[in-house]
Amino acid sequence: MGDLVMSFGKQHDLHQRRFGRNLGLGLVLLGFVAVMFGLTVAKVGGGAPTQGFDHVLRPEMLPETSQ
């Protein structure tokens, strides 16, 4: 079995660079998720309209008018 196990020598610079790139991209994506989450909390917590982007205006979204 020992012969079948491939032995990788010293890590090539290329592998390190690729790992660094993947790690960097991963962290950027995590950061993006965190920003989106934070923005959502800020917008919803701030009382911003959360139904305004629907296709149909709901009656409760319309300004009150006196009849």
């Binding site: 290329l14 790139r21 960097g24 920003v35 934070g38 923005l39 800020a42 701030g46």
Partner: protein, 313 residues
């Protein structure tokens, strides 16, 4: 801000690292974008939720970085010739040109849409126009065509504080125009000083900088004229709604020193500059960076004083 190295064009081999993609976004230019956009947002008379403010600055910076990547894609040929830029990711061979284009376009789209969602669509529209102005009007058109490239193209760098202001208020106003004008008028003397001590870089690359088309003595005179035009604008901003005593003091001191430096540049010729390795020109260029940071920093200090009720006017 100069980064002349000995890396020759096309000498990088292997895969690009994460840092190469970050370098495409011109991080040092982004610091200026972040700072001035932050100032525009902070001096606006509307307070934003900190998270919304943070996200707005982030996406304005990302838009600035995206336009930097588009600039590097288009300018790879002249970047390879100039000592200052030949180690950039595309001319050095670390990143392919089409990768830079793809990254620039993708980040532009993300930055504009996200700024629209985070702040408002007026700010997002202004950011989209800024990216277009820098990548198309300046990079593709003005830069290789006219010695006024830096004068008109400077508008691209002047938009961030206005975008920050619009992100907070939702509209453009006189104060945001004043902040725009400050950077717009500051840009030509800043870049012409750089062109003076970059010697033959622009000529070698065929870029019609003022030093190439009108000569170096004319460029020295232009620096004085633009610095003299900048001073009243910078000092006058102190008496607008965003100004204050701190800004006035900073503007008077900084503009006097800036003018002094410009006159010193105009009084020299290239022989004198060569003799001391462009000491005066380099000092003026360095000071121009402090100049801008000091002005926008002072605006924020005055805005802070106002908020605590310590504003004088």
């Amino acid at each position: 801000m100069t980064d002349a190295t000995s890396t020759l064009p096309g000498t990088r081999t292997g895969e690009a690292g994460f840092g190469d993609y970050v370098a495409l976004l011109k991080p040092r230019v982004m610091t200026l974008v972040v700072f001035t956009a932050f100032a525009g947002l902070m001096v606006a008379p509307v307070s934003l939720h900190p998270m919304v403010a943070f996200a707005s600055i982030l996406f304005i910076a990302l838009g600035g970085g995206a336009s930097g990547a588009l600039n590097m894609w288009w300018d790879a040929d002249i970047d390879a010739v100039m000592r200052r830029t030949r180690s950039r990711p595309v001319p050095s061979g670390a990143v392919r040109g089409d990768e830079a284009l793809a990254l620039g376009l993708a980040l532009s789209g993300i930055a504009v849409v996200m700024l629209g969602l985070a702040a408002n669509w007026a700010a997002a529209g202004l950011l989209a126009f800024t990216i277009f102005f820098y990548a198309v009007i300046y990079t593709m058109w003005l830069k290789r065509w006219t010695p006024q490239n830096i004068v008109i193209g400077g508008a691209a760098g002047a938009f961030p504080p206005m975008i920050g202001w619009v992100a907070a208020t939702g509209s453009v106003s006189l104060e945001s125009v004043l902040m725009f004008a400050l950077i717009f008028m500051w840009t030509p003397p800043h870049f012409w000083a750089l062109a003076l001590f970059m010697k033959s870089d622009y000529a070698d690359a065929g870029v019609p900088m003022l030093t190439v088309t009108h000569g170096r003595p004319a460029t020295r005179r232009h620096i004085v004229v633009y610095t003299a035009l900048l001073a009243p604008l910078a000092i006058g901003t102190a008496f607008s709604a965003i100004g204050g005593p701190v800004y006035l003091a900073v503007a008077v001191i900084m503009n006097l020193r800036f003018l002094q430096g410009a006159v010193a540049i105009a009084r020299r010729d290239d022989a004198a500059a060569e003799a001391d390795n462009y000491k005066v020109e380099k000092a003026f260029f360095r000071f121009s960076l402090y100049y801008l940071f000091a002005h926008f920093g002072a605006l924020m200090v005055d805005a802070g004083l106002d908020r605590f009720g310590w504003g004088i006017w």
